[in-house]
Structures are given as structure tokens and as C-alpha cells.
């Protein structure tokens, strides 16, 4: 008996601890939830539409997954405050996959079991591939804001997959064309962060460059993400006499690289991808960001939906949105729009609607081709000028 008692104490202590943490950190979110409840008329009779959101919400890649959750939260809150979709409220099912394939399969089964109608996610290509089979069997459509692996749409293995981001090969093509046609560069170093996003892109860039006689790849290397110093690699770029660096990866490594290159008084051109075309990059790299090129969806700063979304995020969370926020915002809008237009969550109906109905998103007015890539998301090259991404015409 006595021993049992001790165990109860531990249990109580645990519950109190978690309770305390929840109380401490949960307050911020409680308020909006209450507000929604008041605003929306109680419509319990109709089954809510369940929108799954899956991605990395903890661990090293959390900063790429959390913005997606927030995008979905913002939209769902806004829609529910009105009448939801067709009078049906939208319920969010947010599940973490830590960007690991094996967790992603569990996440996917959880979402399917919980009755998710459509899914926004996943974030990483690997996790997405692992999860898609489960969605496919269950007739659930998944739309990723950030999984760029070409095979996802081009292999034909994943008919239920859509994305609001360009695939690696499309972005690499654009980067290479820009480097060769506009900047007329001869010697190019291709770097990547060894991740599935960065390396995938770099492989394509390297392939395209090698297939073109106008320029040569003088250096092809992977850098170690999270390292405290990149001076050795920077020296190597200098040694290789590259005129430009094409970098595949995310903004933390990009800003470290650029900063160290500029510190060594190198004015090497820096061209990068969607993972870098993020305002956080400019803020983190500061003055060093000036002149950096990055590819990304066509100008979003003048798109009213994008402006609105960013404003809403700032108001709600008190900070600038993170990576892939607009892509996720577009994905959520596209999915909800398809459900609304067709009035159904049926797989075949949704597929047809997604491929036929145009929808206004922060990325422009888009629909999807039968492979799952977005049509209408124009891609453009940007350059950082005076602390802002400015479209480069070419």
C-alpha cells in the first residue's frame, strides 16, 4: 500500500507539472479559441471538415514546419469565424512528424484514423514519400508547401499528391539559366547542405551546368549544417576562383556562408533557392545579404492576399512568418477552396476540382496539373536590394 502511495505522488507531481506548463504557455492560445466560439454560431449538427496538418513541429527542422501550422490556424480561424465551409466548421488536426519517414507513417495513420479529409503536408520530401502511400490507400489528398523532390509529382507513384512549391529540377533550371544567360558566368561552384532539399537541388544544378558548354562547375561540395564556422569551405571557394556560388539549402547556412564570404572580402555572386528566399534570411544576414540572388514564387509583396496573410500572422503571433509560410497558406486555401467549390471531400471529386478550378492564393491564381504541380505559380529570380527582395527582370 505504502509503495503504491508513493507512486501516486509521482503521478500527481507529473500531472501538476504538465498542468503548470500548459497553464503557463497555453494562455496565449486560449483567448482566440474562446473568441471563435463566441463568434461562430453553434452548429454541432453538421460534421466538421477535418484538415490535417503534418510536418516537423519539434526537433531540428521545427522552424520549417511550424509556419505551416500557423498558416493553417490563421485560415481556419478566419473561415470558422464566418460560416466555415458550406456551413461546416473546419477542425484542425495538427500532428508532428519530426521530418522522419518512420514517424511520418505513424503521423499519417493517425490522421487517417482520426478521419482527416485532406492534409496539408508534409514538410520534408522523405517524410512525405513515406506518408503518401497511407494517404493513397485511404483516399486522402495531401498538399505539401515545401516538399520539392521531383519524383513526388513526376514518377506517377503518388497521384494523391499536390504541392505549391516548384520542384527541385524546375528551380535548378531557373537558377542555371539565370546564371548563364543573364549573369554570363563562366566558373560556378555548387554547394549544398547535404539535406534532401538542398542536395536534390544542387544535383540538378550541377547536371544542368555540366550539360552546358558555357560554364564549368569548379567546385561541388556539401557543407555540414549546424557547423560553427565555414571558413575552410569559404577559402576553398576562393581558391577555386569561382565567380558564383549556387547554393542548395536553407537560410541559416546560407547566411553564415554569405557572411563569411563577405568578411573575407569576396564578392562572389551568391544564387540560392526558395529556402533562402525568406525575409528571415535578410534579417539574419543583414548587410551581407545585399546582392544575393534567390529564386521563388513571383512577387508576393504586391499580392493582397499575401500582404494580408503576413499582417494577420504578425498580429496573431507577434513576429514575422517563417519559412514556407506563404506556400502553406496557398496550399490550405487551395484545398479548402476545392472542398467548397465541389461541396464534397470525396477523393475523385476533389482531384477533379483541384485540377480544374482556379483559386486565388498568396502565390497568385493557381490550379494544378494532373501530376500535382501547381500551374500559375510563376517563378522569378529575386535579388536583395536595400534590405528587400526585388524581382530581377530577364
Amino acid at each position: 500500500m505504502k509503495k503504491r502511495f508513493g507512486r501516486y505522488f509521482v503521478l500527481i507531481a507529473l500531472v501538476t507539472l504538465t498542468g503548470m506548463v500548459l497553464f503557463a504557455c497555453g494562455q496565449q492560445q486560449e483567448q482566440p479559441a474562446e473568441a471563435t466560439k463566441e463568434a461562430a454560431p453553434v452548429e454541432k449538427a453538421v460534421e466538421p471538415i477535418k484538415l490535417g496538418v503534418a510536418g516537423a513541429h519539434s526537433g531540428d527542422l521545427a522552424s520549417y514546419g511550424i509556419p505551416t501550422v500557423r498558416a493553417a490556424e490563421l485560415i481556419v480561424k478566419k473561415r470558422n469565424a464566418m460560416t466555415g465551409i458550406c456551413g461546416r466548421q473546419i477542425e484542425l488536426l495538427v500532428e508532428d512528424d519530426v521530418c522522419k519517414p518512420e514517424v511520418a507513417t505513424n503521423t499519417a495513420t493517425k490522421l487517417v484514423t482520426d478521419g482527416a479529409n485532406v492534409v496539408v503536408g508534409h514538410i520534408c520530401s522523405g517524410a512525405t514519400k513515406a506518408a503518401l502511400g497511407i494517404y493513397k490507400e485511404s483516399g486522402v489528398i495531401a498538399m505539401s508547401p515545401s516538399a520539392t523532390n521531383p519524383a513526388l509529382t513526376q514518377s506517377g507513384d503518388y497521384p494523391n499528391f499536390y504541392r505549391t512549391i516548384a520542384s527541385d529540377d524546375a528551380q535548378a533550371r531557373l537558377e542555371v539559366d539565370f546564371a548563364l544567360d543573364v549573369l554570363k558566368l563562366k566558373k560556378i561552384a555548387v554547394l549544398h547542405d547535404k539535406g534532401d532539399y538542398g542536395k536534390g537541388l544542387a544535383e540538378f544544378a550541377k547536371g544542368f551546368l555540366e550539360g552546358d558548354s558555357r560554364a564549368e562547375v569548379v567546385l561541388y561540395e556539401g557543407i555540414t549544417p549546424g557547423a560553427v564556422d565555414y571558413s575552410a569551405v569559404v577559402q576553398k571557394i576562393k581558391q577555386s576562383e569561382a565567380e558564383a556560388v549556387i547554393f542548395g539549402g536553407y537560410h541559416p547556412e546560407a547566411s553564415k556562408l554569405v557572411q563569411q564570404m563577405r568578411n573575407k572580402a569576396m564578392d562572389t555572386v551568391f544564387i540560392s533557392d526558395d529556402g533562402v528566399k525568406d525575409d528571415t534570411f535578410i534579417k539574419v544576414a543583414g548587410e551581407f545579404a545585399e546582392g544575393v540572388y534567390a529564386t521563388g514564387p513571383v512577387d508576393t509583396s504586391s499580392n493582397p492576399i499575401a500582404v494580408d496573410a503576413v499582417e494577420l500572422h504578425k498580429k496573431e503571433y507577434g513576429e514575422e512568418p517563417g519559412a514556407f509560410f506563404l506556400n502553406a497558406y496557398a496550399a490550405t486555401l487551395a484545398l479548402l477552396n476545392a472542398i467548397e467549390k465541389s461541396g464534397s471531400t470525396d477523393y475523385d471529386v476533389l482531384t477533379k476540382t483541384l485540377q480544374s478550378e482556379w483559386v486565388a492564393t498568396p502565390l497568385g491564381i493557381i490550379k494544378f496539373d494532373e501530376k500535382g504541380d501547381a500551374i500559375g505559380v510563376g517563378f522569378a529570380v529575386y535579388q536583395v536590394q536595400n534590405g528587400q527582395y526585388v524581382t530581377v527582370e530577364f
Partner: protein
């Protein structure tokens, strides 16, 4: 019951925590926007929480200490509840029957999600039992165990991709390859002991992962290998649900086999040699045990199970890439062994179930999931340092001689 002294003490603790969490919890800076947000109510919450918790903490620690003292005074080793029940046939037999019944009907009663996470947990049972041989029995701290797991997973994925090898053929091949890798990695580290061994194995684990990540021509690099077939059942076409249930039973079978083999190994000549090695290397050598062979066999045997686990892992996930084989995975497998109770088979099983299922069930806490998980790990270790089921040391009594002397 609560004295003034204790209130004062708790008050100080709460003050301390308010001080400690002040910058991180209260001030939220935004260096991008150059704004500062002050969140004073969090401080109040921390203060209150620390005040209340410190009472429970003190009581719990006091009870733990008292328990330890009592055990010291009485001089007998306290046997935990579960092994005690296990040794009593009155509980053992119905318990076993109930467990078997539950295991058999589980996938038909519970949802596919429950079945799926249980499969993951079962993979960790097998892998954990393998690591238990290395860490729990032979006492060699291995922080790179996930390397063998990766060998298993990649051998199935690659053999299938290139030669269409089926799951059932890949299972022994994966095990064999992992076994060979175990011997290969075991050789250079024979001289090392303790934490030097740990760090070298960590190094090997990372090397294997980095090679998989960088050597595109061989392993397809970070973009991984997709469309790995699930295990087939005589060529039948299985739906997702059916194949989950099938893998579940495959895993149950594999786990039972592992348990059987590990149990037999424990009681064998080599198993006793491992335990002797763990207890005292020098004395063990002096007794005439071949240290090299014993260590190598521990490494290789442990690796074999990881290889098999890896094959099932690849088949279950249908997609693998190097992110699944980071050092973090080794750490989790080590946690399974230590948390469950080193050297105890039942302990490892319970440890795997707890550690793999817990984060899944903690999904209810959404973003606080890993925070709670971390806190629970610390608590479990603080209050049950020997693991959930501490391995009971077998006591051999030699009574014959005593009787003779007496008479």
C-alpha cells in the same frame, strides 16, 4: 504535516525558479522587429508551479531515500513488483494467458493507428533486446548501434531495388550483413573501454550515416529509396489495413523468437562470459575467458538483431533515407534498454513500449509533446534509477558444503 520550515523552503525554491526562468520565459525579444514583449504572468505561473511542485518533489525524494535505507538495513535485495508476480504461478499463468489473448486480438479490436505504433514499438523491442546483449549483458556502452539498424534497412532496400529480393529473403541477408559489420566494427575497438568505447561507436554510427548521405551512387543520398515493398504473404494482394495486421504478426513472431534466443543465450556459456566481462574484465580474463572472442560475439550478436529490425523497419516505412539513422536514434534505443532495466528481457520490452508509445500518446499535448517527454525521462530516472524492471541478479547458493561442515 506541512511545517513552516517547509513552506519557507518551498517559497525560496519558487523564488529561485522565478529568477531562473526570468529572461527566457518573461522577455521575448524579436531582434528582427526590434520589439520586446514582457510576459509577467508567466513568471507568476512558474512561481506558483515551483512552489507546489517542490512539496511533491521533497516528499517523493524522501520516500525514495527511506526506501533505499530500509533495503540497506534489512540487507536483502528488494524485488520489484512485476518480477515477484512473475515468479508466482498463480499470477503468472493467468497473466500470460491474458497477454497472449490481448496480443492476438489487438489489431482486430484497435484502430490501424494503434496497430502501427505497436509495430514500431515491437521493432524497438527486437532492436532493444539486441542492444541489451551489448550494453546490458556484456557491459559495452554502444552509442552507434543505429549503424547496424541502417545496414539492415539499406540491405533490404537496395537488394530489392537492384535485384528484386523479397522481404523474406532479405531478412536473413540483412541479419547476416549486420553480423559481419558487427565483427568488422568490433575489431578495432576491442582495446577500448568505458566511454572511449562509447565515443568510438558513436563515431562509427555517424560515419555510416554520413557515407549513406554522401555516396549518391550507392545509396541515393539524402533523397532516399522509395516504394520498398511490404512483406508479402504468398503473393496475396493485401490492403493497407491487412498488411499492417500482417506486419504486426510478423513482428510478434520475430519478437518471440528474439526473446527465446536471447533467453537461451543468457544462460549459455557465452552469456555467462558476457556477464562476467561486464562485472570485471580483469578477473574475467584471469578466469580463462577469451576476452576478444567474448566481446566480438557480443557485438556481432547484438548487431544481428538490429539488422533484422532494420529490414522490417524498411518494409514497414516503405521509404528510407539517412535521417532515420542519426545518433538520436541510437540514444533512443539506449534509453529503451536503460529505462526498461538493463539486462532484463521484460524490462527491455516494457521500456520499448513506454518509450515508443509515450511520444505517440503525448500527441494530445501537441506542441508540448517533447517537453513533457523530456521531463518524464528525467523523472523516471530520478525515481526509478534502476529502470522500470531492474534485472534481478540470479543468486546461486551452494549449500552442500555448508551442510557437510556443520555435520
Amino acid at each position: 504535516m506541512i511545517t513552516l520550515q517547509e513552506i519557507k523552503k518551498s517559497f525560496l525554491v519558487s523564488l529561485w525558479f522565478m529568477f531562473l526562468t526570468f529572461p527566457i520565459m518573461v522577455i521575448k525579444v524579436n531582434t528582427i522587429e526590434q520589439t520586446i514583449e514582457w510576459r509577467w504572468w508567466w513568471m507568476a505561473a512558474v512561481g506558483l508551479g515551483a512552489f507546489v511542485l517542490s512539496f511533491f518533489w521533497r516528499i517523493a525524494i524522501a520516500r525514495k531515500e527511506a526506501g533505499k535505507k530500509k533495503a540497506e538495513v534489512s540487507g536483502e535485495e528488494k524485488i520489484a513488483l512485476i518480477p515477484r508476480l512473475m515468479s508466482n504461478p498463480r499470477f503468472y499463468i493467468p497473466g500470460l494467458v491474458a497477454t497472449v489473448a490481448l496480443v492476438v486480438i489487438f489489431p482486430f479490436v484497435f484502430s490501424m493507428y494503434q496497430t502501427n505504433i505497436l509495430i514500431t514499438a515491437l521493432i524497438y523491442v527486437v532492436v532493444g533486446l539486441g542492444l541489451n546483449i551489448v550494453v546490458g549483458l556484456a557491459g559495452l556502452l554502444d552509442l552507434g548501434y543505429v549503424a547496424f539498424y541502417a545496414v539492415g534497412a539499406y540491405s533490404y532496400a537496395l537488394l530489392n531495388y537492384h535485384f528484386g529480393v523479397t522481404f523474406w529473403m532479405a531478412l536473413p541477408i540483412g541479419a547476416l550483413l549486420a553480423f559481419l559489420f558487427g565483427i568488422m566494427l568490433g575489431f578495432p575497438v576491442l582495446r577500448l573501454r568505458g566511454d572511449y568505447l562509447a565515443i568510438v561507436t558513436l563515431g562509427f554510427g555517424e560515419i555510416i550515416r554520413l557515407v549513406l548521405e554522401n555516396w549518391n551512387a550507392f545509396s541515393f543520398g539524402p533523397s532516399g529509396i522509395a516504394n520498398i515493398p511490404k512483406p508479402g504473404l504468398f503473393g496475396l494482394k493485401l490492403s493497407l489495413q491487412q498488411s499492417s495486421i500482417f506486419i504486426y504478426f510478423v513482428m510478434i513472431g520475430l519478437a518471440l523468437m528474439t526473446i527465446f534466443v536471447v533467453r537461451r543465450l543468457q544462460d549459455s556459456r557465452i552469456g555467462r562470459a558476457w556477464i562476467a566481462l561486464r562485472e570485471d574484465e580483469v578477473a574475467c580474463q584471469a578466469m580463462g575467458i577469451d576476452k576478444t572472442r567474448t566481446k566480438l560475439s557480443a557485438f556481432a550478436m547484438g548487431a544481428t538483431w538490429a539488422g533484422m529490425g532494420g529490414v522490417v523497419f524498411a518494409a514497414k516505412t516503405t521509404f528510407i533515407n539517412p535521417t532515420s539513422f542519426t545518433i538520436w536514434e541510437s540514444v533512443i534505443i539506449l534509453c529503451v534498454v536503460v529505462l526498461g532495466g538493463m539486462g532484463s528481457i521484460l524490462g527491455v520490452i516494457i521500456g520499448a513500449l513506454v518509450l515508443i508509445l509515450l511520444p505517440e500518446y503525448l500527441r494530445a499535448f501537441s506542441e508540448y509533446r517533447m517537453l513533457v517527454f523530456g521531463a518524464l525521462l528525467v523523472m523516471m530516472m530520478v525515481f526509478r534509477p534502476g529502470g522500470i524492471v531492474s534485472g534481478v541478479r540470479r543468486i546461486y547458493k551452494f549449500e552442500g558444503l555448508q551442510n557437510k561442515v556443520d555435520s
